[in-house]
């Protein structure tokens, strides 16, 4: 079985890479450029912020080649439905893309999403023609409600944003995967290292979105490459179909023909 045609499709847009990478918290734009390149990603997130008129800043977008990367603007930092919707509109106006990674944060310390506000904002944005990809907790009922209002993907967290704790609720993520089959599921937030990404993909997730795990690694480009392999390895293992777990051993080598056995002495 070849995986050459195995693509991530969100609202009809196909991506060869199942890794979505954030553009925040790199030591420099140069490091980010190299990390994005080595991650193999085709889709990167960006945040909407006020222009700083008091100092000259280099523009992030000068470092992101539009022929290589599709931009996924987010509503990070928004705490209300209104703020998130306003931010989505500004992003769409500036970039001309209907895609929006919807975040409505409910708590400053954990950055956990306000699921109820997220559902409300998602419903309104979908009605306005946005392709909505919401960040939510790993809650099946919330995910179902989001699917009902027409989101293009559901993006549960694996652990708090930027925590690097990895997959904290394996069972919930599994249940989500088994029950949500109408839209892609993408793990968003909490990944710390390559094995976390592998687990997400082995669970059958359609992709992983990460930022801090790459940007704050000691060597971001190398971690980006590790993540690329992790995503591919996890995906292939999922497609290949793992063996069932058993408590006791089953020999891999034939039992027959071991020397020195048989023949009574």
């Amino acid at each position: 079985m070849s995986t050459a045609n195995d693509v991530l499709t969100v609202a009809g847009h196909a991506f060869r890479s199942r890794l979505i990478v954030g553009t925040g918290k790199y030591r420099s734009y140069q490091v980010m450029v190299e990390a994005l390149e080595r991650s193999g990603t085709e889709w990167v997130t960006v945040a909407v912020r006020r222009v700083n008129l008091n100092r000259d800043e280099e523009s992030l977008l000068n470092y992101i080649d539009p022929s290589r990367y599709k931009l996924l603007p987010n509503t990070a930092g928004c705490y209300t439905v209104e703020e998130a919707i306003r931010t989505a509109h500004l992003a769409r106006e500036a970039l001309g893309t209907p895609f929006i990674k919807l975040e409505v944060i409910g708590d400053e310390k954990t950055l956990f999403p306000d699921n109820q506000a997220t559902i409300e904002a998602a419903a309104r944005l979908v009605k306005e023609g946005f392709i909505v990809m919401p960040y939510v907790t790993d809650d099946l009922i919330v995910a179902k409600k989001l699917v009902d209002v027409g989101v293009a993907a559901v993006m549960p967290l694996a652990a708090p944003i930027g925590s690097g704790l990895g997959i904290q609720n394996y069972a919930n993520l599994r249940i989500l995967r088994e029950q949500i089959t109408d839209v892609p599921l993408i793990v968003d937030a909490g990944v710390g290292t390559a094995s976390d990404a592998v687990i997400a993909m082995e669970l059958g997730y359609d992709g992983v979105l990460m930022n801090t795990a790459i940007a704050q690694a000691e060597n971001p480009p190398l971690m980006a490459e590790a993540m690329r392999h992790a995503i591919e390895a996890g995906r292939k293992a999922y497609l290949a179909g793992r063996i069932p777990k058993k408590l006791y051993a089953t020999a891999s080598s034939p039992l027959e023909g071991v020397i020195g056995r048989g023949m009574s002495r």
Binding site: G24, V48, L53
Partner: protein, 66 residues
């Protein structure tokens, strides 16, 4: 005239439209979006939208984020 840009009061030339204001602020050519008094001013309307005294403007761009 005095307007509020991104939450801060600022002196800008009288009778400018959005396009001219963006030029005046040195933001020409940037991927930005503009809100005037909470309404987005579409790019196509920049030259026909006049800024008035006391207007509240939000001008946003894109920064690194996850």
């Amino acid at each position: 005239m005095r307007v509020i840009i991104n939450g801060e009061p600022r002196e800008v030339p009288d009778r400018v439209n959005v396009e001219e204001l963006i030029e005046y602020l040195g933001l020409r050519g940037e991927r930005i979006a503009v809100e005037r008094n909470r309404e987005i001013v579409r790019r196509a309307d920049w030259t026909t939208t006049l800024i008035e005294e006391g207007d509240e403007l939000e001008i946003v761009h894109f920064v690194g984020g996850g």
